[in-house]
Symmetry: C2
Subunit: 444 residues, 2 copies
Amino acid sequence: MRSSPAWIIQKKRDGKELTETEIREFVTGVVSGEVADYQATALLMAIFFRGMSLDETVALTQAMLESGERYTLNEVPGPKVDKHSTGGVGDKVSLILAPLAAACGLRVPMMSGRGLGHTGGTLDKLESIPGFSTALDRERFGQVLSKVGCAMIGQSARVAPADRKLYALRDVTGTVECVPLIVASILSKKLAEGTGALVLDVKVGNGAFMKTRAKAAQLAKALIRVSERMGVPCRALLTDMSQPLGYTVGNALEIREVIEILRNAGEAGTSCDLKEVTLALCAQMLELGGKARGAAQGRKLAREKLDDGSAWRSFRELVREQGGSVDAVDDPDRLARAPRQLVYASPRKGHVGRMDTEALGRLLVELGGGRMKATDTVDPAVGLVFHRKLGARVEVGEPLVTVHHQDAHDPERLRLQLGRSIEITRIRKPVPKLIIATVGGQLS
Amino acid sequence: MRSSPAWIIQKKRDGKELTETEIREFVTGVVSGEVADYQATALLMAIFFRGMSLDETVALTQAMLESGERYTLNEVPGPKVDKHSTGGVGDKVSLILAPLAAACGLRVPMMSGRGLGHTGGTLDKLESIPGFSTALDRERFGQVLSKVGCAMIGQSARVAPADRKLYALRDVTGTVECVPLIVASILSKKLAEGTGALVLDVKVGNGAFMKTRAKAAQLAKALIRVSERMGVPCRALLTDMSQPLGYTVGNALEIREVIEILRNAGEAGTSCDLKEVTLALCAQMLELGGKARGAAQGRKLAREKLDDGSAWRSFRELVREQGGSVDAVDDPDRLARAPRQLVYASPRKGHVGRMDTEALGRLLVELGGGRMKATDTVDPAVGLVFHRKLGARVEVGEPLVTVHHQDAHDPERLRLQLGRSIEITRIRKPVPKLIIATVGGQLS
């Protein structure tokens, strides 16, 4: 009776600390079916209310990690460092960062997810490059990683099956927003890829999962503590997600923007916020990977490798090695393009005062460019191009957004939705800081 | 999305009050299967932590009550009053109380449960009378009730199916000990029987569900408030369960004790605590049913009807009408009897200082006289007869308990278990008060 599922639930319910064995037995039981789903959700809700200690969270992460396949990547030489983002709208950072960090001498073994709800996913973006395959097997993953310096794949069904099951249950039982459960979910998948260090981009704002700086910092700290207890040095940036990152939202459109930055990085006028976040994250990765002494030196190296075209060359090589059309990235007009464009103009003179970033992310889903459920298919062509960002001065009738859509969408409805999601104010409101804080870093 | 199960769970999780509609939809969904069991248990755990308002508890009780069949008993004349006990060890009160209250002019439409865990059940006790049927249909239930003044049946599967489902889930997810859930579970079944008023016997002590007076009082108050909001006047006694009630534990043994009291009530030496609790509860029932002005007058009437044999005649009539063997109750030696008796004697001189009542209840289950799960069958013959109760002075070697058991039980092991469950102290400890408090009663 002592370690039956019901007993473990009661122990947590009463605020007592679970042992590593109890947590492992529970997780193993959830995957095998010995622990019923209705017991799993009761424990999840008890954890929601009682929290978990560091030891418990480490044990949970470990048990979830061990529920599936785990790469070690011993055959790949060089410092292996990866980045994980908590998710946002227009967040295409990985697509620039992975080849950039590779060009700087790191190895980036990146396993990513697909878009879900209002946030996009790296896999969907990559797959809008014709032929690009994110389903490499273990051997090929190592080969591409060794050759290019980065490889970008999807999580196979064999990685952390406990997380897949628990996440599906959390999603329908109000137990998603719980720090120890989020930590275990992220790290059980991320640490399966065999990275040696990890940099986190914890998004903050109305387009992010964490709406406030305090909550984002709490999550970042928990992620860092657990990652380090599991032997993977980790630090985090808190970055702004109170507007879409860069100028585009939508899979093929975002690939265009990525190519634009990688090719013409040295020139003026390319996305500033996107480039800034990418460089800041790369600087942290380089420091963690021992390629730079301090973030400032890391940023300088990253800037050089972006400006001199090295990152662009790594990106092309990545596309080629993963089966994608290099012609399409050399000539982005070959990427998918939606048949219709609708320009949404400013209804008044003033400044871009506020964007409802989550609503803009949901608008992409409505256009067909995202998913409400995991089985939905994604239209790579549709999306939004922003001409003005927060704080910009605008005139009446000045284009704010171009919507790339399929025939089926009612222009009036689209305009109404954009009007509700983008607020034009008479007085210029202060624009949130882009890089809000660095968390961790006492280890370097 | 607004009233999806996930939304309702989140609302309760965040401490907000659920509406009647939300609660009804959830309960209906649990029964129909539209709400998954893993969502039901997440809500139950959220309720465990957040509690429920009076309005919410009433709505939950109502929804569970409406999930099944409900009797109205309009064809039965006279004041209908029932009693419910929260369960204990040796609690055979209903078997005396129902015919006694009937003899006093009330109508007692009693639906009972079976024993589970360490507490016994009225149905199991009744069924140790050969032929006694607790499975009367609706029509026959009304006939027996009209004729005898009481009828004692089991809850059919059609009564409160929502409770059956939710209780099974609570039992394995650490959500049993939660006042609003207990209240809804008890009242959704009890109010289905069509009683006009209700007296509660809330047990307190180490053999009861509620171990402390404070918790028992909290439960009693909640039960009374919800019952009265649902139109059924209600009051409660808190009574002691820090030792088995009466002198016997075990189904046929308890029937013998009941017969002893009913037949020889006027004589000295019959179980005092059992008789006292029964009379106190009957007094409350008579007051609620309008047969007495105040509890003192009620007690006087009850005492008369017990002493003059009226209650005994009602009991015999009940047995006959429900198909039981009147010969067996007239001659209790015809009831089942276990092949072996083991006498446990006091290991030292002193006083009976403490009994682990729950352990004694579990010992009955081990002997075969109770259930660990609902599908277990029960041996009517086995049980325990206590020769001394709390506070009694005992000599070395003086018999304390006689165990009635089947061949399979190891005498040494039984002695060890009894030795651990009954403490003999040098100094006499104070004996807990039998009738601890009366709760409610402002209505009469």
